[in-house]
Amino acid sequence: MTEGVSALELVLGGDANLYSIVWLSLYVSLCAVALAALVGFPLGALVALVRFPGRSFLVVVLNAFMGLPPVVVGLAVFLLLSRSGPLGSFGILFTPRAMIFAQALLVLPIIAALARLTIEELWSEYRDELTAMRIGPAGRVTTLLWDARFSLVTTLLAGFGRAAAEVGTVMIVGGNIDGFTRTMTTAIALETSKGDLPLAMGLGLVLITLVILVNAFAWGVRRYGELRAG
């Protein structure tokens, strides 16, 4: 009970340490989702629209990778970015940039696979009209992505949820360095193990509130879109 009160005091009192962790977590997760969406949306649309050898295999891989274990992704990115790894020369291991890169890899299959489903469904509806209007492949991709934009918000949410909730990847490639790469999830894990429950609970409270707020915002965007665009 006293830990709960202390946690609330930290949150409501604007504790600098707590909020620096919150901002970094948001920054990393949002950047990772944006990066993954930049690749995942067109990739999902292409897989939905284009028939090519190995397409079914790619669909299976994308679906399977939606459940990628974060620690495995963390390990793979660690090996890539470590000094002796192929991308070691960038020197970004144990930085927020490494965390963004790793989380983007984790989120990419979720965004690509869900976008493929959405676009494929819309394409079955639009095929005749777009074909009759002689819309080329690039035009089809952009049209379908645009017209599916409100459904794709849900896809972004799924990606954000995954990024915001995961611990293993950012722990491995970020190193959980205080004031530099410590995120809400890694801090909660650390503070709980240290016995500093107020900070852990405060961060948990903020994390849950943020997830609710982001979802509420996305729901509002979708609803507004449906009213405006049909």
Binding site: Y126, T131, A132, M133, T143, A148, A229
Partner: protein, 249 residues
């Protein structure tokens, strides 16, 4: 109904007419949907494709539009087989509205024809007015009624500046008032020089609109004649039976 006076690009030379089906068949597995159709569709008054359900009207529309290929035989547009389809447009029985406003739907179709960007807003407005939707430009297309959606689909098709406009039972699910509105647009469009090729199972509509009639039964072309001749003295027993209202199986 506002008039359909069209821009400079409307005077491009005719390229897709006559539309000729040369022994064209369409099969899906063992099923023959269109059976060796030989037919020439020339410029002029609307050509109405009629026949009972399953006679192949919609498939003939799709073949003429270039949306499907003939399994055997060929289709010639203005004497050539190349299918750029730039000056053909189609309105389906249940057109799909893009998830945008009515105006944005028309703008999309205009952009697909590479219309000059500067002229676009004016042309969008003109087309929407022409189909009686000027006041609904900003409304989401999917929130329009069935009749309004069908008129919007016509505006979208006309935005492509077609030489040939295919219509696949565009009034099949509309009430009489909406049907009349669509038919009025079809008449004005035809009068402006656009060749209308329209599938319908509504004999009254065929009488009202047709310049010539193509009568299909089970994928076969049974009769092709001028409307007056077809409706007053059909040359085949199947056509006579169909006009009497008998079931043609």
């Amino acid at each position: 109904m506002a008039n359909f006076e069209r821009g400079e690009q409307m005077h491009a030379p005719l390229t897709d007419l006559p539309l000729s089906f040369d022994n064209a068949s369409v099969r899906a597995g063992a099923v023959t949907i269109l059976d060796r159709i030989s037919l020439a569709i020339a410029p002029g008054a609307p050509t109405l494709l009629i026949g009972p359900n399953g006679s192949g009207k919609s498939t003939l529309v799709r073949l003429g539009m270039g949306l499907i290929e003939a399994t055997s035989g060929r289709v010639l547009w203005g004497g050539h087989t190349s299918d750029d389809g730039e000056r053909r447009a189609v309105v389906f029985q249940r057109p799909v509205m893009l998830r945008r406003t009515a105006a944005a739907n028309v703008a999309y179709a205009l952009a697909s024809r590479s219309a000059a960007a500067g002229a676009m807003p004016g042309r969008v407005e003109e087309l929407l007015k022409a189909v009686g939707l000027g006041a609904l430009a900003g409304r989401p297309a999917r929130r329009l009624s069935g009749g309004e959606q069908q008129r919007l689909a016509l505006a979208r098709a006309l935005a492509r500046d077609p030489e040939v406009l295919f219509l696949d039972e565009p009034t099949a699910s509309l009430d009489p008032a909406s049907t009349k509105a669509v038919e009025d647009i079809i008449r004005v469009t035809a009068a402006s020089g656009v060749k209308i090729v329209m599938a319908t199972h509504d004999l009254g509509q065929a009488r009202r609109l047709a310049g010539d009639v193509v009568f299909l039964v089970r994928g076969r072309l049974v009769e092709h004649a001028g409307a007056e001749c077809f409706f007053t003295s059909p040359a085949t027993p199947e056509a006579a039976a169909f006009l009497r209202g008998d079931l043609v199986i």
